[in-house]
Structures are given as structure tokens and as C-alpha cells.
């Protein structure tokens, strides 16, 4: 596969490189940065006076960081490659459905990791197909509702911090709150009297098992392939958001990290256990006074953190995992880290904030595959291993009564 756009003109020095070679380079760069950290933090150096050495280490670290960035950049491709394939799909759908569809692309030059781009097509295809197939009305219905006969799908991409946000927006009929809520209640996602917020309700269409073939036809069809989308988003460490207004259309937003190779993390310690948390989910680090922590005996014995008048639920990692991490009878953890999640903020107590580093991610395989609320293992510069927390699933899990399944 080509990693650079094919220019027929004098190609400005572009060359084709196989993605295997680039992956190999990425692996080596990862190992290089680990060995550098290991060397620099070697215990043999303890107590030595190393003025020149420290200066050299500083330079070395800067270079490694740049090599990392350059290697990551090698694998970045414009998201337009994926968008163009989708455009062809929409032409095909126009013929099949007899609908007129105008497809607009915005931000096609947004760069994204080739590995991510390769996996985006299928889930995006499902979203676009659902928009074209079921979201957009036929020409007569549209005209009757005072809309232009031609339906419109806008596919857009933009980089937001270390994430790329890809949205698929249509101006169709929107999701039916009534039908989805009915189905969600049948499936037990909500209680009979519960009236969930729209954002919370739309989310259930991605829940595994929510969509079945028989509901597709009476659910505006938004069901097909949503499980696939959900699974891919989890694998890519992405998030999905849905917004819909009856009669005006639906917007599905995918938030995906630009690169999968390195992750900018804060390292936390709780007892003898290390955790890494992607830096962009941390909204606050606090050293609470005792009166700012409030225990609630009712329910499952929860605890709240009072921050500037608002109450934030405290999510204890040792309770969540059902694994004691600190000696019994330890004083309360001195630090609370507040994570921003789609289910609202949560405060996680830890003993210590250790460091901020670019970590190399290793997937959880084999015996570790069932560890909950984690993206993988992070190899730290010290040679230690930290568990990378998936704060979304941590928050969702603890909201459901947390802990043991």
C-alpha cells in the first residue's frame, strides 16, 4: 500500500514504502525510547556527580522525542482516502434507493494513523449507509416536509487536541425517541418510568445486542452494523457520540486518537499498583481536605468529592477491581484525580502522581484479555508496567454498581 498520495505530476520526491517497514521502525523507536530511559535511570548512576552526562541526557531525550514524532508522522495519511471510498458508496446507494443524495466532505486533509484509517472504512460505511438508507427520506416525503428534495450527508473530519473527530451528519428524519426508548426498555437498558437524557438514550443503539434483525425495519434501520462500529471504536480507543433532532437529522461523531503507537499519559500510583491515564481525560488533580470527602452509607456505600460546590462521585480502583491494593487500615489517599468522561466526572483516589510520559502501549492478550476498563499495558521508562485506564468504561462500570460482576 502506498503511504503517500499518488501524484501523477513530478511527485515532489514521494516514494512508496511498505507499511510493514514503517511498523518495524515504529517498534524499534519504541524500544529505543525504552532503552534510553532504562539507561538514563539506571540505579548504577545513583549518587554520581554527572554534570556533563545530564546535559547529554537532556539532548538525547529531546532527540528521541523528535524521532518518535517523526516516526509517528510517517504513518499519517489524509482521512480523505477513506472519505473518497465512501463517496463512491453513496453514488451506489443513490441508484439502489432512488433517493437524491448530496455528499459533502469537509476536512479531508486531516491526518490520521494509517492503521486507524484502514479500520475506519467499515464502521463509517455502516453509519453512512444508515444515514442514506434510513435517515434520509424519499424525495416526495422531503418536499412534503418543506425540505429540498435532495438529501444531504456531510462527512467531516477535524483534529481536536490529540484526537480526530469524524462526524457523519444527515438532514433526514432523525432518530425516533419513542421507538428506541420502547426497545431499550424491553431490553432492560432503562426502567419503565425512566426518561433518559437524549444523549444517554441514543447511546443504547451501540450497545451489543440492542439491534437485532427484526427491529431494523421499524427502528429507522439504525441498528445494522452498530455493534461493529462499537467494537472497532473500542479497539481504536475511540468514543462515539450521537445527536439527533426529530425532523432535522442525525449526527454521529467518532472521536479517535490520531496515533495508536504512543500515548501521552500521567502515571498514578495506588498502593503497589501503577496506572497510566491519557492526559486529555484528566480535568483536575486535587488534594482534598477531609471535609470535602463525604461518605454516603445508603446504597452501596459510595463516597462523593465536593469540588467548588459540585459533588463528584468517587470511584475507588481497589473496589472496582475487587483487588486490595493498599495495606488494610491505610489513611485515606492524599490525592484525588478527576476524570472527565461521557458519563460525567469521576474522582479517583490515588497515593501519588508520579510522572507525565509518552508511553508505549501493549495490548492485553491471553490471560490479561479480561482485565476490565483498560486499554492495555504501558511500558514506562523505568521498565515498570502500568495499566492504562479506560476512564469511560471505568465510569460506566462504577455507575452500574461497579465492582464485581
Amino acid at each position: 500500500m502506498s503511504t503517500a498520495p499518488d501524484n501523477s505530476a513530478a511527485d515532489g520526491g514521494l516514494m512508496r514504502v511498505s507499511s510493514d517497514k514503517i511498523s518495524r521502525l515504529m517498534d524499534l523507536v519504541g524500544e529505543l525510547s525504552l532503552s534510553v530511559s532504562e539507561t538514563v535511570q539506571s540505579s548504577d548512576l545513583a549518587g554520581l556527580q554527572l554534570t556533563n552526562f545530564d546535559a547529554a541526557v537532556h539532548r538525547l531525550n529531546m532527540i528521541v522525542r523528535e524521532v518518535q514524532d517523526a516516526a509517528t508522522e510517517l504513518r499519517l495519511v489524509p482521512v480523505d482516502d477513506v472519505f473518497r471510498r465512501l463517496r463512491r458508496m453513496v453514488r451506489e446507494l443513490e441508484r439502489q434507493t432512488g433517493k437524491q443524495i448530496e455528499m459533502d466532505i469537509e476536512g479531508g486533509d486531516t491526518a490520521i494513523d494509517k492503521l486507524v484509517a484502514d479500520r475506519l472504512y467499515d464502521p463509517l460505511l455502516h453509519v453512512v449507509r444508515n444515514s442514506a438508507d434510513h435517515g434520509l427520506e424519499g424525495p416526495e416525503e422531503r418536499v412534503a416536509n418543506g425540505k429540498p428534495a435532495q438529501g444531504r450527508i456531510v462527512l467531516s473530519a477535524a483534529q481536536v487536541g490529540s484526537e480526530v473527530r469524524i462526524t457523519v451528519a444527515d438532514d433526514g428524519r432523525g432518530l425516533s425517541r419513542e421507538k428506541i426508548l420502547k426497545k431499550a426498555r424491553e431490553k432492560g437498558f432503562f426502567g419503565l418510568d425512566e426518561e433518559p437524557e437524549p444523549a444517554a438514550l441514543w447511546k443504547v443503539i451501540f450497545e451489543p445486542g440492542f439491534s437485532t434483525a427484526e427491529v431494523v425495519s421499524n427502528l429507522s434501520g439504525r441498528g445494522v452494523g452498530m455493534d461493529v462500529l462499537n467494537a472497532t471504536m473500542q479497539a481504536l480507543r475511540g468514543r462515539i457520540g450521537v445527536d439527533s433532532t426529530a425532523g432535522q437529522g442525525t449526527r454521529v461523531a467518532l472521536h479517535i486518537p490520531v496515533s495508536l503507537a504512543f500515548l501521552d499519559c500521567i502515571i498514578l500510583r495506588l498502593g503497589h499498583q501503577l496506572f497510566a491515564v491519557p492526559i486529555d481525560v484528566i480535568s483536575e488533580i486535587a488534594k482534598p481536605a477531609p471535609e470535602e470527602r463525604m461518605a454516603i452509607s445508603a446504597g452501596t456505600g459510595s463516597e462523593m468529592f465536593r469540588l467548588r460546590g459540585a459533588f463528584i462521585p468517587i470511584c475507588r480502583l481497589d473496589d472496582f477491581y475487587g483487588t486490595p491494593m493498599r495495606p488494610a487500615g491505610s489513611p485515606p489517599e492524599p490525592v484525588l484525580v478527576v476524570f472527565n468522561t461521557a458519563s460525567g466526572p469521576i474522582a479517583v483516589p490515588v497515593d501519588e502522581i508520579l510522572d507525565r510520559q509518552q508511553v508505549v502501549m501493549k495490548p492485553l492478550v491471553g490471560r490479561l484479555a479480561h482485565v476490565r476498563a483498560s486499554w492495555g499495558c504501558a511500558l514506562l521508562g523505568t521498565g515498570e508496567v502500568a495499566l492504562v485506564l479506560d476512564c469511560e468504561r471505568l465510569a460506566a462500570g462504577s455507575a452500574n454498581g461497579g465492582g464485581l460482576q
Binding site: 519504541g30 491494593m325 490479561l368 482485565v371 511500558l379
Partner: protein, 173 residues
Amino acid sequence: MAQETAEATRSRPDGLPLGEADNIEHMYLTFALGSEEYGVTIVGVTEIVGMQRIMPVPDVPAYIKGVINLRGKVIPLMDVRLRFGMPERAYDERTVVIVMDVGDAPIGLIVDGVSEVLEIPPGQVDRHTQFGRATTRPVIAGIGRIGDRVAVLLDTSVLVSDSDVSLPADMAA
């Protein structure tokens, strides 16, 4: 220590060439748990290392003691004694980790000490289906006879799975 053990494994003590394609499946790495001798097929064994610094991991059974970082690879460690419900024993200088790939995923088995690599032809392996539960695949693949000694040969894919493999009471050391 770790180095020596690994060497011993590679240059076979009995002088037979290692890696002959036709009998590698009949080669077993034997190790001690208490007074008993166990064996695993050497297919999949990548190396044998001394005990390393274990970093704990939450949300795993107690017999998964944590992970080690082996030259940039994260390897979960299973204490085979705990896996079989045998009493825990403090790790000492003889304790070793057998690192192997089982079903494409790495795992390290913590054992009391490795003994040797042996060829045990199928004719010297007694396969008894009554070991383990009848409904599930047994963790014991067979009993290998090596002269006047025996080694309990383990099915590594069952060993690393979630299934209950506690040994019958009379077999636990």
C-alpha cells in the same frame, strides 16, 4: 542462574540434537512442584528466566501473580502451585519462570525449578481420561515414564485457560 538454566535447556544434557522436526513434539521440559515432577511440551517454550520483579495487575485470579517486562514484552506470570491449589511457597534462587507462547499469547509459568528436557515417546506416555473432570478437557495430558521416574504431562492450553484444574486431593502436594 537464569542464564545457566536457559543454557542447560538449549544444550541438551543427554546430547541429542535439539530441534529435530520429527520428534520435537515428544520433547518435554520437566519441572518440579514440591516433590512431584511435571512436564510441558517444549513446543511454544521460548525461554527460561530467573524470577524477575513482578508488577501486580488487578482483575485477574490470584494465581496470576502479575506481569514482568521481559525486554519490552509484557508477560503475565502464573504461579502453577496456586493454579493447582497447592500451598504457596516463597520464591527462592531455584524458582524459575518458563516463558511460553500458548495460543499466540505469552505466559510465564512460575515453578519450583526446572529439571531437564527429555524425549518421551508416545509409547512411554500413559493417557488416562479419568484424570480431571469427565465433562471438560483434562489438564493432565498423560503420565510420562522416564526410567523409574514419572512426570505428569500437562496440557498447556488447559493450564492457561480459566477452567477449574484443581488436582484431586491425593495428588496435591
